[in-house]
């Protein structure tokens, strides 16, 4: 009897293979968190252990030291074709955004620059519906225009495993293999598959990081969960939000939507 994780896993693998078949060249954003590591793991399952396209870190220079160390280790262990994409300074971002959102918007610009340089037709991203109500409105494949903008009112029809893999001239397609997963699904899968994750997720001195972003705008939350099993137990009962420690989400009601409309992940 196939279980829910199997169902999610197979749905994701199909979408990753579909992206590889239809979007050339293809690349993946590897933000080094639990979600993008899971996505990388699913990619290896899809292609018999290989990762047949480059993985990208949008590097603000502000990631945690532990995150950089994790990256250096797994680039080698998993033989990844790694691209380090430096992000433009905060001064280059939309001054109309609140300050923490501007820090996050650096990644939007870094991605835009990279796509312009390398001409990627498709980008795989590990976003999920349950982490953020605006992300919840996404599609499996989401076409973006040359500016990277998300036209949320004109999202394509998507059904029965048929996706819209065509973007406007100069645009690209965002692919979201983890959209249907929840935070709890991810941790149960990490446990089942023994997927390596960064040690910052595990509690130290009564605190842990539940969601990893740039060091300057991401804060740990109170927790004693020091193992994956304890994290799962915590999530089964918690009422606090996954991104509670992400300052960019909480400045203004419309901040996240504005970031995403302009091309944020």
């Amino acid at each position: 009897m196939p279980d829910h994780l199997h169902h999610l896993e197979q749905h994701s693998i199909h979408l990753i293979r579909e992206a590889y078949a239809r979007l050339k060249p293809l690349a993946m954003l590897w933000s080094l968190g639990k979600d993008s590591n899971t996505m990388l793991w699913l990619t290896r399952k899809a292609f018999q252990g290989r990762v047949p396209f480059p993985v990208i870190l949008l590097d603000t220079g502000n990631e945690f030291a532990e995150v950089y160390a994790f990256r250096d280790r797994y680039i080698n262990e998993w033989s990844l074709d790694y691209i380090n994409a430096p992000c433009p300074p905060v001064e280059a971002t939309d001054p109309g955004l609140p300050p923490n959102a501007r820090a996050a918007a650096r990644k939007t610009l870094g991605l835009k620059q990279l796509i312009a340089e390398r001409g990627f037709a498709g980008i795989l991203l590990g976003i999920r519906r349950d982490e953020q109500a605006i992300r919840a409105k996404e599609r499996g494949m989401s076409p973006r225009d040359a500016q990277g903008s998300w036209h949320v009112r004109e999202q394509p029809t998507e059904l029965w495993g048929h996706y819209t893999s065509m973007a406007p001239e100069g645009g690209h397609v965002r692919v979201h293999p983890l959209l249907e997963w929840t935070e709890l699904d991810i941790w149960r899968y990490v446990e089942r598959e023994a997927i390596p994750v960064c040690e910052l997720y595990y509690a130290r001195n009564g605190k842990r990081y539940r969601s990893l972003g740039e060091a300057d705008i991401t804060f740990p939350v109170p927790s004693d969960a020091a193992t994956i099993a304890e994290i799962i137990a915590e999530l089964e009962t918690t009422k606090s939000e996954e991104r509670a420690g992400r300052a960019m989400d909480h400045e203004r009601e419309d901040a996240f939507e504005r970031l995403r409309a302009a091309g944020y992940m």
Binding site: Q10, F47, Q48, L159
Partner: protein
């Protein structure tokens, strides 16, 4: 951990779908910390009382206009069962987003405003959901607070909704009163509804049936998604739509009809021993057979059908109505081919939930059409295999519709693939066609008459035979009824047998033409593909397709053999023009209009056409 049940939330715009779901999350204490305070703030800033819908409707425009624009999914940890509730917009302009949310689920929660009842949009949604494969319904008669939780008014709505859904043939498991506003009967029935003996909304959702179990014994269907090359090895990738797969299994590749064996199943970290429906597989073949994306791997015992033409129940989202001649891309499994609408069979009238005569399917409408692809496509009837029997239609890369295949009225072209028998070698005659023509004064030829029963084929054929004979020519008519008494006495009138009937006639006509005769055939021969094959069988020989044209009503009035009467009374099934299609020839060599011209003029037209082309 069992599979959570996916339930699609649908109904007319403003009947309170998102509010009901937001309130349901609150009643089950599933909203995160601080969420209610944020919803209160977001509502207050817009000068409205607490809007539960804002828990789902996160977009600024959705909140400003208090309407769901796009679909989303929420996990609901109900006490007895995990649910995934898919919120869908109800607005008629946003049907594409409803389709996106609802497709792939088997159950729906239909929300109806108790004050307004099941309006046209509600019925249209229910019909669309049924087409998308949803069979299990729970209905919430919402806004009961505005009806003062009045039992009689609820009962009136319940009966009206039950009657409408009965027309669709779906299972309605519960019709429950609810109020998103006061939270009544979502988890607990309120005191005002002491009369209510039925389940709460959550209780009704928790007891919906499980999704039907996958039938592991069903014949294999595996659309080829991609082929990965590593060195000289080719690894075939795809997701199993139906059945199971093991190394050593024999497969049929469609459309080619080739047979292959599975050598290995590949995988990481370990290759699997076997794979089942829903699994993504990577496999290698034992034989050096090349396949590509779009091919369908099947069980050779029960393979898919192969046909360029089929009927389909469709939903249509395009800006312009879907009418005859419209060219689109058909995507089924991993195959994408050009397709055109050959006929509009009917449109669905949402007021009566019944078929209505129509020339087109309106935007956001449903109906039945005949589709013709440029090449034969491997597919199944949706009732046989839902995964390979459903398709989408795309226009310039944009999905504009979709539907379910019903190919039961058309022959399977796979059986027409000629078996290559390597032991048969053609023997040459010593008399050439030129020698035969020099003696008879005319060339051998095939005059292929096609048209509805009663159009005048036999009359014309026999008159042409007489006229040519009187000129001293060698001519002979093969007539449908005569052949079915002898050569084809073993064949009935199923699409398959009709195809074989025409195939044999095509072969015999080619032999007669070789013998130097003008061979006239008088068969309805309703299918384009069969006539095209007869022409292909004729090869280098003269072949003239003559469309004997008359309207159905006229043929039926003539009814020389009393067959239309029998067909109308249901005494004979699959009669062309009544309950089996006739495909008009797209490029006939000659059209004879027996509707308007009189008999002698028609005969004269045909005789002079043949005499000019076949005289030596």
């Amino acid at each position: 951990m069992s599979l959570p049940l996916a339930v699609c939330l649908a109904g007319h715009v403003d009947h309170g779908k998102s509010s009901l779901l937001g309130r349901l999350l609150h009643e089950l204490d599933l909203l995160p910390e601080g969420k209610v305070a944020r919803l209160e703030a977001a509502s207050a800033s817009r000068g409205v009382p607490l809007e539960w819908s804002f828990a789902l409707d996160a977009l600024q425009l959705e909140r400003d206009q208090a309407v769901t624009l796009d679909t989303t999914r929420v996990h609901v940890r109900a006490p007895r069962r995990d649910l995934i509730v898919i919120d869908c917009p109800g607005h008629r302009e946003l049907v594409r987003n409803l389709v996106t949310g609802a497709a792939g689920t088997t159950a729906a929660l239909l929300v109806v405003d108790g004050q307004l009842g099941a309006e046209a949009q509600t019925r249209a949604h229910a019909a669309l959901l049924r087409l998308l494969g949803i069979r299990d319904f729970v209905v919430a008669v919402n806004k009961m607070d505005a009806l003062d939780w009045n039992e009689a008014r609820f009962a009136a709505r319940r009966d009206e909704i039950a009657a409408a859904l009965a027309l669709l043939g779906v299972a309605v498991h519960a019709i429950v009163p609810t109020s998103a506003q006061d939270g009544g009967n979502i988890v607990v029935a309120p005191p005002a509804a002491a009369w209510w003996q039925g389940p709460t909304l959550v209780g009704a959702l928790e007891t919906l049936p499980e999704e039907p179990a996958v039938n592991a014994d069903a014949p294999l269907r595996l659309p080829v998604q991609d082929v990965y090359r590593s060195g000289t090895r080719r690894v075939v990738a795809g997701r199993i739509a139906q059945g199971t797969l093991k190394p050593g299994a024999e497969l049929m590749v469609l459309p080619s009809g080739e047979r292959v064996h599975v050598a290995t199943l590949e995988g990481w970290p370990q290759p699997p021993q076997s794979a089942a429906a829903g699994d993504n597989v990577a496999l290698t073949f034992a034989e050096p057979v090349i396949v590509e994306r779009g091919d369908l791997l099947c069980s050779p015992v029960a393979p898919a059908r192969l046909t360029p033409v089929f009927d389909a129940d469709v939903f249509w989202l395009g800006h312009e109505p879907l009418a005859v001649g419209g060219r689109l891309e058909l995507r089924i499994g991993t195959r994408a081919v050009a397709v055109r609408v050959a006929a509009v069979v009917h449109a669905l009238d949402v007021d009566r939930l019944a078929p209505a005569v129509a020339r087109a399917i309106a935007t956001n409408g449903l109906g039945r059409v005949t589709l013709r692809c440029d090449v034969p496509v491997a597919l199944d009837d949706a009732t046989e295999c839902f995964e390979t029997g459903r398709f989408v239609l795309a226009d310039a890369g944009v999905v504009v519709g979709g539907g379910l295949v019903d190919a039961s009225r058309y022959p399977d072209q796979r059986r027409a693939l000629k078996p290559a028998n390597r032991n048969v070698v053609a023997v040459d005659h010593h008399i050439s066609a030129v020698e035969r023509g020099a003696r008879s004064g005319h060339v051998g030829a095939i005059v292929w008459l096609t048209g509805l029963s009663g159009a005048g084929k036999s009359t014309l054929a026999m008159a042409l035979e007489r006229a040519l004979f009187d000129r001293g020519w060698n001519a002979y008519t093969i007539d449908g009824d005569n052949v079915r008494r002898g050569l084809n006495a073993d064949l009935g009138f199923s699409p398959q047998d009709r195809q074989e009937n025409i195939r044999r006639v095509g072969e015999v006509a080619a032999l007669f033409a070789d013998a130097g005769l003008v061979c006239i055939t008088a068969f309805i021969s309703p299918f384009d593909d069969d006539r095209a094959r007869a022409r292909a069988t004729a090869g280098h020989r003269h072949f003239f397709e003559v469309y004997v044209k008359s309207e159905l009503a006229t043929c039926e009035a003539r009814d020389p053999k009393g067959l239309y009467g029998k067909a109308r009374r249901g005494e004979i099934k699959g009669f062309t023009g009544i309950d089996s299609p006739y495909e008009e020839p797209s490029a006939p060599d000659l059209v004879i209009d027996t509707q308007h011209a009189d008999e002698s003029a028609c005969i004269a037209q045909l005789v002079s056409f043949v005499a000019e082309r076949c005289g030596a």
